[in-house]
């Protein structure tokens, strides 16, 4: 399978390892990514708080670029906020011709137009419906047996559009955790909100939400995520949140393609694990990422 690839701004910066791991895992799974040339920001959650039309025009530009550059319809998007922004455009334009006309007026200045062909797909959607658990199981070289993994989906890959999973009780990651030999941590925090940009504007609120998620996963070895915002919120403030809750709440946080990539025999370096902010020594030991192996690939503990 071939996909247009829209990494989005975070994956060029604070979520570099998500980009590295996504590219490495997709390649290992036998699929191909085609980079969209000259892509720009989707507006994240900020554009919608400034202007409704802008929040649709920014992702529309990305969609129109992809449609102009090749005949691949699927756009693979690893970031949940980017995914939702692109999805909003392709969902709304068929039934809202006034909006479609406005967006085309805006895009026209650059010689772009919406063809109505593109299909934005979240990375988890592609993993779930195109690659499938058996597609991963057949490729496992390093079983992650003995690891208990808490799948964390966050919000915007699930809601409001129910595409590949149950937006109330998501399960799509579970067969993949099992496919790589892991155990699924039983919890009901998988689809709860991490507070998103509240971590910057209203940290006390976001830390409550993240605290509850970290608490819920304390008996797991790691939480896996599929969104750069979720990942950052869960991994970057653990010390502060532990102090706030008066309880040790440290836990390893990995992106799903990092976990799957490790099981497919990719090295820590190849899935960018040196860039994560929270990977505990216990996790490395239990995952069989031994000292020798780490030294062999020149990675830091």
């Amino acid at each position: 399978m071939k996909y247009n690839y829209y990494p989005g701004c975070s994956l060029e910066g604070t979520a570099t390892e998500y980009d590295i791991a996504t590219r490495a895992f997709i390649k290992a799974a036998g699929c191909e990514l085609v980079d969209i040339d000259d892509w720009t920001c989707c507006g994240a959650s900020a554009a919608d708080a400034v202007s409704h039309l802008l929040s649709l025009a920014l992702p529309a530009r990305v969609i129109a670029l992809a449609e102009q550059q090749n005949d691949i319809d699927d756009i693979l998007v690893p970031c949940s906020a980017c995914y939702l922004n692109l999805k909003r455009v392709t969902t709304r334009i068929p039934s809202d011709l006034t909006l479609a006309r406005k967006l085309n007026l805006i895009l026209e200045q650059e010689g772009l137009a919406l063809a109505g062909r593109a299909r934005p797909r979240h990375l988890l959607d592609v993993i779930t419906r195109d690659i499938g658990p058996s597609g991963v199981r057949d490729l496992v070289t390093t079983s992650l047996e003995g690891l208990t993994i808490a799948p964390y989906y966050g919000c915007q890959c699930l809601r409001p559009y129910a595409v590949f999973d149950d937006p109330e009780a998501p399960v799509s990651m579970e067969p993949f955790i099992e496919a790589v030999g892991g155990r699924v941590h039983p919890w009901d925090m998988g689809g709860k909100c991490c507070g998103a940009s509240h971590m910057n504007t209203k940290p006390h609120v976001a830390m409550e939400l993240v605290g509850a998620i970290l608490k819920g996963a304390q008996t797991a070895d790691a939480i896996v995520t599929v969104c750069p915002m979720c990942q950052m919120n869960l991994e970057a403030h653990q010390k502060k949140i532990s102090r706030l809750h008066n309880e040790e709440l440290n836990i390893s946080i990995l992106y799903l393609p990092q976990l799957l990539g490790l099981a497919l025999g990719l090295s820590e370096q190849e899935v960018g694990m040196n860039l994560n902010l929270s990977v505990t020594r216990e996790f490395r030991n239990r995952a069989g990422l031994t000292m020798e192996k780490r030294e062999a690939i020149g990675n830091n503990p």
């Binding site: 708080a49 202007s51 802008l54 025009a57 920014l58 805006i106 650059e110 909100c193 403030h237 860039l275």
Partner: protein, 184 residues
């Protein structure tokens, strides 16, 4: 504050979204941030329908929406409640409401970085945000994280720059169309 008439006009598009609200409270019960709100989402919709503009913007409820879409998903009337929250944020941004500057300046500076460079420059955007806040203590809460990210080479030390204005034409056209719509 403008005249009552204008205020009613500003709420009209939002009233249209929540028009058929039956005040069941599913949104309030589903909202992860409800614990931090002064008015629950259900009450907020009632205030919107009753044109209580002052109270709506005195309240911080709409700025506490983190766009998790639980309310939109569960609303038995199928109302786009997350969009209604966003529309309230847009009004607060448009009018530079001082009470909500911690949120509105965040959104504005993010979008400004996108207009200048086409992509968000995380470090530039946070610098612009901190400068705009004019709160010398706020950045310290993030200093540790900033240092960590810098060590991992995930952010560069970028000073804010004008950039190429890459998306300026797109932004201008959006503004032009919005103006036309408002006049119509």
């Amino acid at each position: 504050m403008e005249t009552i008439e204008n205020e009613t006009d500003r709420l009209k598009p939002i009233q249209k979204i929540v028009q058929s609200c039956i005040q069941c409270g599913t949104c309030s019960g589903s909202c992860p941030n409800e614990f931090a709100m002064d008015y629950t989402p259900r009450t907020l919709w009632q205030m919107v329908l009753a044109n209580e503009t002052d109270d709506i913007f005195q309240s911080r409820t709409f700025t506490l929406c983190s766009a998790c879409y639980y309310c939109t998903l569960r609303c038995p009337r199928g109302l786009e409640l997350t969009d209604a929250m966003a529309a309230l944020k847009q009004l607060a941004v448009e009018e530079n409401m001082p009470r909500h500057r911690q949120s509105t300046l965040f959104y504005k500076n993010f979008v400004e970085s996108v207009r200048r460079h086409g992509r968000v420059r995380e470090m530039e955007f946070m610098t612009l945000y901190f400068l705009a806040l004019k709160n010398p203590l706020h950045p310290f809460g993030f200093a540790g994280l900033g240092a960590k990210l810098f060590m991992k080479k995930k952010i560069d030390l970028q000073l804010p720059s004008r950039g190429t204005g890459k998306l300026a034409p797109l932004f201008d056209k959006v503004a032009e169309l919005e103006k036309l719509e408002k006049e119509a």
